[in-house]
Symmetry: C2
Subunit: 221 residues, 2 copies
Amino acid sequence: MVQEKSERGSSFAGGHRPRAATGARHEELRRHLLALAECVVAEEGLAALRARNLADAAGCSVGAIYNVFADLDQLVLEINANTLRAISKAMAGIKDGDPQQRLLAMADAYVLYASSHRLLWDALFNHRMPLEDPVPHWFQPVQDEAFSHIEGPLAALRPDLDGPACRLLGRSIFASVHGMVALGLDNRLAPMSLDLLRGQIGLVVGAIITGLNTARPLGAE
Amino acid sequence: MVQEKSERGSSFAGGHRPRAATGARHEELRRHLLALAECVVAEEGLAALRARNLADAAGCSVGAIYNVFADLDQLVLEINANTLRAISKAMAGIKDGDPQQRLLAMADAYVLYASSHRLLWDALFNHRMPLEDPVPHWFQPVQDEAFSHIEGPLAALRPDLDGPACRLLGRSIFASVHGMVALGLDNRLAPMSLDLLRGQIGLVVGAIITGLNTARPLGAE
């Protein structure tokens, strides 16, 4: 949950402009604020995102921010959706090799993304919506898309699993890699170089793949 | 990092008491504050821990807190050490079965602990020390002890691994389970009952075990 959403107003949208021009200006401010906010989170972290500072940087009033975003949490959701899309793109790019190799390469792409976009990645997992304000519906497909890339190679590895079982297991494998990345980058496991962490992730994901392959029913392709 | 550590003083320790009596009273207040703070974190979460409220509940001055704890972060470290000791105890209690069964039971004990002590467990992983104030040396052995229980069954499963390799792999497996617990309890994977999550963790940890067992060199016990 992001603090500081008390000051709201409608000081931006001028009352006499034609609707289309206002809409375009609205959209332009929205994009501008999102780009600025994304820079703040990427460089200083989620805690540094403040409406006042953002308004100063954008040259608008604080109220104008709340004309284009319902609150700062909605702005953070847009940033996080972009982060998810970037992670999704990094995983979607992996098309070569057998299912085992693709799964290993996706895990590696994930840790490389997280380590080189550390604060954006932190914001994705550490931001929580206020209790009264659940994650909006538009966010779910973005998340589903990011998870989906694991499902192809997993289904090829285990054609005996039905769709829902494959989707769930794909997410669980994602979460297990995520746990190693989260505790590893934070040095909570042991002081660890990125290469050592990549090696550990390769070991565990390699074991998961071998184990899943061994456990599949006899006669499955 | 915990906010609110500006007010400090020495209003508690009376100047004229003999040293031993002051020491005992100091220790008593320390235990009392720790127990109160642990209740606050367990019931309301880390963000609810405030020196002012804690002093009111303990019937002491805010300054008195800083006579027995250097700052609130040190108090949180003591709470987190107790949480780690409880996790460690839950895992240490698993002594029956072969290495595979013990590893699976430890993963299950971990998710059960986390789900029934959710806010204490959140505090353990979400609390970060201020940059200028690293985690003190006394905390490391508490963390090592919690990780150590995995090493016994893992070494039995893979006697070809040397000590450091086994320790590191044990921590990586811990982190992979942690990731599934963290994203699973938060419903970030999919809306998920505790039993479904336990089943997924069993599947993935089972695959890791099978995979590690399959990958061990021929001739190893």
